[in-house]
Amino acid sequence: MDYGKVISIDSYLLPPRWIVVRVETADGYVGWGEAGVISWPATVKSAIGEIASLIVGESTGGPSDVWAIATKGRGYGGGAALMSAASAIDQALWDIAGRRAGMPIYQLLGGLVRDRVRAYAWLTLDDHGRDVVTIDEIAKLAVERVAMGFTAVKTGYPRSADKALEPIETLAKTRDLVDQVAAIRDAVGPQIGLALDIHSRCSVAMTKLLLPMLEPFGLMWIEEPIAPPHIGVTREVAGHTGVQLATGERYHAAPDFNALIDAGMSILQPDLNNVGGITQARRIADVARAHNVAIAPHCSAGPIGLAVSLQFNFATHNCVIQEQGLEYYADRQFFPTGYLDYIREPHALRLDQGYFLPSNTPGIGVEIDEEALLAVARDENYWRPPAVRRTDGSVAEW
């Protein structure tokens, strides 16, 4: 198959914090991809440019060949910035491969394995300019999301994004963390999936103290109990709880996921926008399948990254649920540029009672309105996590 020479690879920063890539081939195909490492926008954009210099104008093959060049073509590779850049390019190449074939990517990957993809909603007010968020507010948000049709929700520690946890918290604070989960479970009832994202904000000691206290609430999973890359400690913590443990959004190499499986993780959360795109995510999912481990792809990206993630879910049997933020980014007061403003016919990104339905649109499944996209693209898109400090003034995990 002639894959067509790549003649351009351009990247754009879009509000509120997306990094997208446009790839064009000599025979007129255009593909789009997204890089998920949003806290290093200029660095990722530069990496995309340096990878592009290895590909543009060269005789390259399909997504697999370009993946090898993008991830290994400069000798040194790996890590958040480079893998995120390579992910965006990989996605765009898959988009082009689908368009060339006139098929959605899920069809190239073997066709639909499910009729719909379950999604979950976040219970967070991180970007809403709030200093203190109460348990009642989070529980109320959970009820609202369920009313919208979601069958699963995810809450995180701490409720207020800029509040650090101490290495070993007081009894009062520990009770408060447990109460948050208990209140949400009470509010949504036993039929709704509830996940907890610790976001690596607890120390190992605190995690061991806390995890057994969370067992009564029937959680889908507990996410990032231990900060990457401490896979060894993860094994130890997994032995302290009957709740399924999940992690993956900050691992960028396939062997890391093998190690996470060995360490007792039963749900892996590779992010297709930073793990190395569809090419790498497929490999990880296949290894996970050999170990009877499920995939719940992480996605805190924009519409392109989400569309790609959905293609993957539709074709990958051990995917169980997709993270997404459609309803979160719908609040125009805090996100003036709408999530779908530059997506033409966004039916592939519409939720139906908490599920996404497949679309026949070739490639990633959405058409980009380039004019609308370029109108909002800007070079000033710097977002970074809040600088979080403990009470003694030392740096804490965000």
Binding site: A47, R74, G75, L82, H230
Partner: protein, 396 residues
Amino acid sequence: MSVRVRSVRCHYVKPRWLFVEVETAEGITGWGEAAVDPWHRTVGVAIEELGETLIGRDALRIEDNWQSLAHGRFYRGGPVIGAAVGAIDTALWDIAGKAAGVPVYELLGGPVRHRVRAYSWITMDDVRTDNPTNEEYAENARLRQSSGMSAVKASYGRSANDAMTSIEAPGRVADIVDLVHAVRDALDPTVDLALDLHGRCSKGVAKQVLRALDDVHLLFVEEPILPEFGEAWREIASITRLPLATGERSHTLADFKSVLNSGVTVLQPDIGGCGGISEMLRIAHLAQQYDATIAPHWACGPIGLAASLQMACIVPNFLIQEQGVDYYTAADFGVGLCDYLTDPTALQLRDGYFPALTRPGIGVDIDRDMLRANSWPARSWIPPSMRTADGSFANW
């Protein structure tokens, strides 16, 4: 006492180096160097992004700054971030030493040695013709020996397109073994030889090569396979008596922990790629618990080399320093490694050793006129693109 960071600036200089200058409101300037060869522009941008975080902060709170720089943006790890943080961290230590009026090794517990053993390359990638013969390798080795070096390193890979496949014919293994014998035989028994396989072998080929080298005495064998294959390293370590080395492509403490658990006894962290002096010290401390030695990788310019020498003076489990002082010469590259220093003799090798750098900070001062005269507008260097015989991608 506090020293406020006023600016963080990148200087790209020939032949392909990236220096970082951190200026403070108090007038003390610190220098660092990023090491990741093939990602110059991206590392420069990452440094600028980190500069936003650093400006206005107290440069002397080095560890606090390190935490913010390395972990403050949630996503972390990898060569780009390791290099950007490494360059800035080095500059902050330089500032701290200058503020105190002492070399960095005095801040970190005082010197444990007064000179630092180094090795030379006998591979001439940039300046010699393709397909060097074994005799050419041997001749280079003799040349280094006669200049006083007590150790040399040969890299296998005879040409710019010397891809290896997962299963190699016996002739390929024999070619590596013949090269090693030729160089070893050319050297006096008091001079050490190391071999760099550059991660090009598959696990299976690496085992064959190591078995075939079992009767040769080598200082270490570097990257018989790529560092990312942690479990495979254990297998390889169990079939060879030779010390195994890796590290230039490991960028965090945790990366090193995984290879230590696999039987590697020589770690090669790169000060401008592993998160700087702060993280390298942690790596050395971790290695000590495994009775492993540190042989720092360094393939770039004078600032990172000076910083690496400061480390060598602090760390008890130090083995030997990589360097290119005798490789990056003005004759071959237009500008020599030492030409960027106000005192070019500071990094002169004496009988195969660097004397401890006793001036404040990292111990060398930068000649700004030379930076201007040798600026490097291209800002990009790409390794050779390699393909195997069937046209598939191969690791450089």
